[in-house]
Assembly symmetry: C2
Homo-oligomer: 179 residues x 2
């Protein structure tokens, strides 16, 4: 058995996860006290987090040095940084070798792909994504970093569920068909 | 009172309304006997259809010369064609003058913007869209003609409703906030 690779992310209705300046303040439109849109429940299921270095630096710059609970193994994809500290490991080898390593260490867990755009692209290009859970924010951003960059391989999706929230956020969950 | 301008269209989850070759066969994935995803009910409410010439030619090439019921006034945006036949009128003046003409003739109706991509862009750029109803097809197309081209003005949306169907199609309806 292997782990399930899940892209879990928010995007504007026109498909952007951030502005070109990496501004994500459009997410504030759906920020409501006491409503996490299922994030904590999802994180409970997660054993491993994989994210790009720029996304990690962005999160770290928000004043949270270790933004993920210590029971999660976090891999930061980086060609420059090396080594590890606490639960964070920098990874500069291929994605396939990383997934092999994770699958060797444990199975049946959830691997959370936390972005950004280039990391999601790499996972999709290599056919490594099992599931996509996207929170669609009720806004047209007009421009920015696309969740799905053009040129990714075409893939059929299978809708697992769709939920809407009073803020106008619509969360869709798809399984990615293989082959 | 004026008419309500509605963009009613289908897109892949990664935001394309057609491939770069104008192929829309990805829509076949959700084609189910007896399920029109609300299209006929929507068309009942429509008084006027506006579409680009390429989209019109595409529809006409499918063997349906007059694809819209005769009780609809259809405007085909074209810089080359002129005149009108039956309920089809070619329009080569500005969008604002077209909307003014329609609003002068009647009010409280629904104006259906039927695409394609460049037409939707023009309507959004000029701030003329009141409502967006999009059927999200469960597929990543990878590339093609985007529903929302980059560079359109940022607009807040207000979710009216979201529905999912057994085929995996998710239909979302938003009001476009003004200003």
């Amino acid at each position: 058995m292997k782990n399930t690779v899940v892209v879990y992310i928010a995007m504007s209705f026109d498909g952007y996860i951030a502005t070109n300046d990496d501004d994500i303040s459009f997410l504030d439109a759906v920020a409501i006290e006491g409503e996490d849109y299922g994030y904590n429940a999802f994180m409970e299921s997660v054993s491993t987090v994989i994210l790009g270095n720029k996304t990690y630096q962005k999160v770290a710059s928000m004043g949270i040095e270790f933004p993920y609970p210590m029971d999660k193994q976090v891999y930061v994809l980086s060609s420059q940084n090396k080594g590890s500290k606490k639960n964070i490991t920098y990874w500069n080898d291929s994605l396939s070798s990383l997934l092999q390593r994770i699958n060797n260490e444990q199975s049946d867990g959830v691997i959370f792909v936390d972005g950004g755009s280039a990391v999601v692209r790499s996972f999709l290009e290599e056919g490594f994504v099992d599931k996509i859970i996207v929170s669609i924010i009720p806004i047209l951003l007009g421009d920015g970093k696309k969740l799905f960059q053009s040129g990714i391989p075409s893939k059929k999706l299978s809708l697992v569920q769709s939920k809407s929230f009073p803020s106008g956020l619509v969360q869709v969950e798809y399984d990615v068909e293989k082959g």
